[in-house]
């Protein structure tokens, strides 16, 4: 097993990163009064781990015994029958599913399947703890209709069914649902927390961690614990006696995006845009979500803007004044780029063909940057 899985805390007590949250949850559960829960936070921050630990806390070790079912549901949708394939992970007391897997048909899952599951009350041998937990992943990807149909279900069966919703961004969960849940924000672990976890793992594995190495990994991990641990293990595999300046292998797709970014910086023309488009397609094909592409492009562009400007700067070392000007312009540029990035990302979410909008952003950036260069350097 990977270290990520191996050192994943199993119970609420073991949790180190979000200890306060864990303790609160524990209290909540032990008082037997658990509302619907909505966990939200960036990926790799430990939502799922918390949820699992919580379920374990509720039902004991039996919750660990799960089976995977891949089942086709036939839903009667008025005029026609809809067939939906859905994978569920279930134990006796809880069911995990990702309704957004069904795409635009997620409404039927919520309306029929979840209702169906929620209706069936598990019969406990003792008879008193007869409630059941539904864990829904990626609620923010649910369509609006599905979310609307979810709220009635949440109320109607609340006496014996608890919903635990997980998502990355609460902004895309409707007000109605948010108000029916206890919202738990799980923020990404800070670098210090990540370092602590890494050191803990290092100790368990009996590894020598040079000072600063863990913090470098943490820094690179973008506040994602999963990524930090994975790159830690990668480093371990690649070269064991760690060196403090050891290279931390980057994510391939990030590398690729930074290649794209430097392409953009090198030349701004429709031709170059065409090449960039090809690369963007490559990324999209490989299941990289377009939002992330946009985000990473912006980030790497900022880095590059700096470096490019620095080069120019050395070139124009004598002109101190211009340097100040540049710095100022640079900030303005940043601002503008951010603005447009947000603009196009918004469009991308509203629209259908993400490539149009990413490309529009790239073109916009090229345009801004080029006119900036022209106006600055003539």
């Amino acid at each position: 097993m990977l270290w990520v899985d191996k050192y994943r805390p199993k119970t609420l007590d073991q949790i180190t990163v979000h200890q306060d949250v864990a303790q609160n949850l524990k209290k909540l559960v032990t008082e037997q009064d658990c509302p619907h829960l909505l966990f939200f936070g960036p990926s790799g921050s430990g939502k799922k781990t918390l949820v699992m630990a919580l379920i374990r806390q509720m039902f004991g070790a039996s919750a660990e015994k799960v089976k995977v079912e891949n089942k086709t549901w036939k839903v009667d949708a008025g005029t026609r029958n809809v067939e939906i394939e859905l994978t569920t992970i279930s134990s006796t007391n809880h069911v995990e599913l990702t309704p957004s897997d069904a795409g635009f048909q997620d409404r039927y899952i919520v309306q029929e399947i979840i209702k169906d599951m929620a209706k069936n009350r598990p019969i406990d041998s003792k008879g008193k703890r007869g409630h059941k937990v539904l864990v829904l992943n990626d609620v923010d990807k649910l369509s609006r209709e599905a979310q609307h149909s979810l709220r009635r279900t949440m109320e109607k069966y609340s006496s014996y069914c608890r919903l635990i919703l997980c998502c990355n961004s609460s902004s895309r969960v409707t007000e109605a649902i948010r108000s029916r849940c206890l919202n738990v924000r799980i923020n990404g672990p800070t670098d210090d927390q990540i370092v602590k976890v890494l050191e803990f793992i290092g100790k368990k594995e009996g590894l020598q961690l040079p000072s600063g190495f863990a913090s470098r990994i943490a820094e690179k991990s973008n506040r994602s614990l999963r990524r930090a641990i994975l790159s830690f293990e990668t480093c371990r595999v690649q070269q064991y006696p760690f060196v403090s300046n050891q290279a931390i292998p980057p994510m391939d797709w990030e590398e690729y995006i930074s290649e794209i970014a430097s392409d953009i910086m090198k030349e701004q023309s429709p031709k170059r845009l065409y090449q960039v488009r090809g690369k963007l397609y490559e990324l999209l094909v490989n299941c990289i979500p377009p939002e992330i592409i946009l985000k990473v492009i912006i980030l790497s562009q900022f880095l590059l803007i700096f470096s490019v400007l620095m080069c120019d700067l050395y070139y124009l070392v004598s002109q101190r004044l211009l340097y100040e000007l540049l710095k100022k312009l640079d900030a303005e540029l940043k601002h503008e780029v951010c603005h447009w990035a947000a603009y196009y990302e918004h469009r991308m979410r509203l629209g259908q063909k993400s490539i149009f909008h990413i490309e529009a952003f790239v073109a916009k950036f090229m345009s801004i940057y080029k006119s900036f260069l022209i106006s600055t350097f003539g």
Binding site: L284, C287, Q352
Partner: protein, 972 residues
Amino acid sequence: MDMDIPFPDELELLEEDFHLYEDYMEPEPPEIDDEEEILEKEPSDSPIPQSNSPRLSSIASNSVTESSSVNGLKRLRSDDADAPMELVSDDAEPSGGKKSRTENSMVETEEAWLRYSPPREKNSTVEEETSLVGEEKTVFRYVTEIDGDFMPITAPDSDERVYAKLGRFGDKEESKKLDLKERHEGIMPENINVLMERAEKEALAKTLEASSDIQLDPSPPQGPVMQERLWVDKYAPSSFTELLSDEQTNREVLLWLKQWDSCVFGSEIRTTSEEVLSSLRRHTAIAQHHRLSGSSFTRKNKFQGRRTGNFQDSTFLDQQNSIANGSQDTLSKKTRLPSPPEQKILLLCGPPGLGKTTLAHVAAKHCGYHVVEINASDDRTSSTIESKILDAIQMNSVLGDARPNCLVIDEIDGALGDGKGAVDVIIKMVSADKKAEKENGSKDQLGKRSSQKGRRGASLSRPVICICNDLYAPALRSLRLMAKVHVFVQPTVNRIVSRLKYICNQEGMRANSAALSALAQYTECDIRSCLNTLQFLYKKKETLSAVEIGSQVVGQKDMSKSVFDVWKEIFYTRKMKLQSRSGGKFRNVCDKMEHLYSLLSYRGDYDLILDGIHENILQLNYHDPVMQKTVKCLEMLGISDLMGQYAMQTHHMNLNVYRPSCIITVHRLVAQVQRPNIEWPKSNQRCRALLLEKTDNLRSWLCKVPPIISRHINSKTLVEDLVSPLLHIISPRTLRPMAMHLLSEKEKDNLTQLVSVMVSYAISYKQIKSDPRLNNTRHEATLDGSVLALDPPIDGFVCFKGYESCHNVLPLPMKQLLIHEVENQKIFQGSYGKLEHISEAKKVNHEGSMDKPLRGGLMKTDPAALSAKNKVDDRKSYSAQHRPSHPTSASNGNSAPSVSTKSSGAQKKSALGSSSFFDRFRKSGGKGSQNTDSIDKKEITLERDLRPFLFKFNEGFTNAIKRPVRVREFLL
């Protein structure tokens, strides 16, 4: 005399003969006074008549024989022949007198007659309707009187033939002929078409034979009724030569119809053989030439006069051919089976107004069919249509004409739901037919003939012509495969204009050809709309002028263009005449926008159009220094996309009307004068397909991963966070590909860890066919053309085009080792799960606890010692020692000493008297706990565990001990 059937070769010759005439006539001015012509000809033609007289006589005799013979075609023909004869009612004495005359001449020229018979015969068939009739009319008067030379003359407009005696009767003849002409003038207007058709038939020599059923007056009466009729109907072509459509298509259609002859009219009738068809092909090409010159009547006249001369040329060849054909004919008669053409359905398609329906009707009539039309106005559900089609195909009307039916299904693509019924029925019939043929082919032909006849009822035995506008309509998909498809192309503007001009002249409407050609262009050569427009204008007493066409009543065709045209329109702009009119430029722009807007909204498929724009826009050469145009264009695309998405989501489809404006903006920004090189937008499609595939891959991989892990990841995080590190982790650089037992402790540890990772993420390697492209990038050795690749192809997720990932690729032996280990581990885990169950059931506590260290130890030694061969070797040597001495199941006493070398526990067991050889070793685990003297036992088990007993099933010696063994037992 058996002269009825012309031999193909002869026909061919005749054809050539005919062509010569035609060629000859070509340069002639349209209006030639035939009298003059005759006079001119007289000297040059004088030798010819000599040879002609016998011919004439033979024709006469032919007519006699034919009238007596009563087979189907003949009947038809004689019917036909009757009609003209009625027209010529003034002819005093019918064939009787002629006969007598011909007999005379026959006697006189017996030898010559015999010699000429083949061509004559052809002549008789070819010219039967025309020349013969003509003969009858005029010859009565003159030919009987002619004892010497004479010359056939055809009147310029009546197309009747007179025979002029040469020399001394010249004056008389002239005057009489003039009389004749005058007389016929009265009948003329009604007969014109009959005669024309006849002439036409002559032109299409072999076609004539079958097509004896020319209608008497297909042309509209030109009397007072004329004002009420639509010009479109009034001037609809009634004969083959008048067709405006593309000659190539006309010919092909006719050819196809002729191929039915053998099947429809039966074999007893002269059928057109291949040679004839080919000659037809040539002929029509030539005939087409003359069609538009509009002077066919006079030409025919010339043609008749000229004919005699050419016959002489051809006779020699004919003679030769006749000999060969005599033998061939009998052969061909036998071999020729009445079979329809290969493709039994003709599908005509093309834009409206080009004359598809007209062609179908005219061609069918021409070939002697009775046209049964089914069009969109009829009920076209499959049940009604089936009976209708069957009626049309299998029956002939009892009353009226006995011509076979030809089914024309018009507008077959029109109504999708209803039209499909017809398509299905036809397809069913055709396929049934094919099946029947196949069966027939396999069975004995003679024996099955009767049964096949029965089946034939349901099959297609009459020509079916389907007409559609859109060849690629979904309803026609299956039909398209089995039908002969002809696509109509627009006729040239010239042809349309000349026809229009002719009509205008006829109607007394003034129109100059410039205006007419503008009209034709404007309507895209839709003759129907041209005519309608003209008539409309005529009624309004307006004249057509070229400039005003756009603003005049002519409606533009509402035709959607292909999407490529749309893209072209978007990316292409005409060079504007620079400020020739300053106000005009603005108008131009407006017009262009209007045009583009209507184009886009007719087309409608905005998503596709957008994709196309997106795909091609960056390839254009527009001037764009700071990329502002590009930004704007992409912005527009984005807006259009947003609108589309919004309209889709909220079902406000009416919002789509705003989408073309975005595209027009793009056009204004980037349109260039150069022709754009437009490509079909593939990349978006490709991207979508690949994405789906990869997502599926991901999902199935996730399903394989045990839930304890997979619940924490979804496909998004898998790609984002997991894949790259995982690839690094499972391909460590430090691992050396060497034998297990040579590895150090630490390396073994690493290996164990690696294997467990691979197992927990359900990753393995598998053999795939080597991809030559991949091979040179990877440095691994390939064995017999196959490589080991990761089983869920997760490395695909980091393989971007033009990107070299820094992942280490394990060498081949390492991979093989890993496969083996992973398999082992999986089996082990499976059995471990079971074992746990068992041990739990037995409540053997210490067994469970002991199991772990034991397995831990094994896991470590696993790579080294577990590699099966070592164990096998061990066991082999062991059994090799003992087997020979104990061929049967080993006795306890004998085996005891050898066992003692292994372990004391086993020794004890053996003393207990286990039944099987292996039991002595195996039982220890299970029974150890049952033993009462536990202290002693514990020691023993401990001792045993220190030296785990490894054995392997030993093939080749199975006869010694047989016992069911589980894999897990080998591993333990």
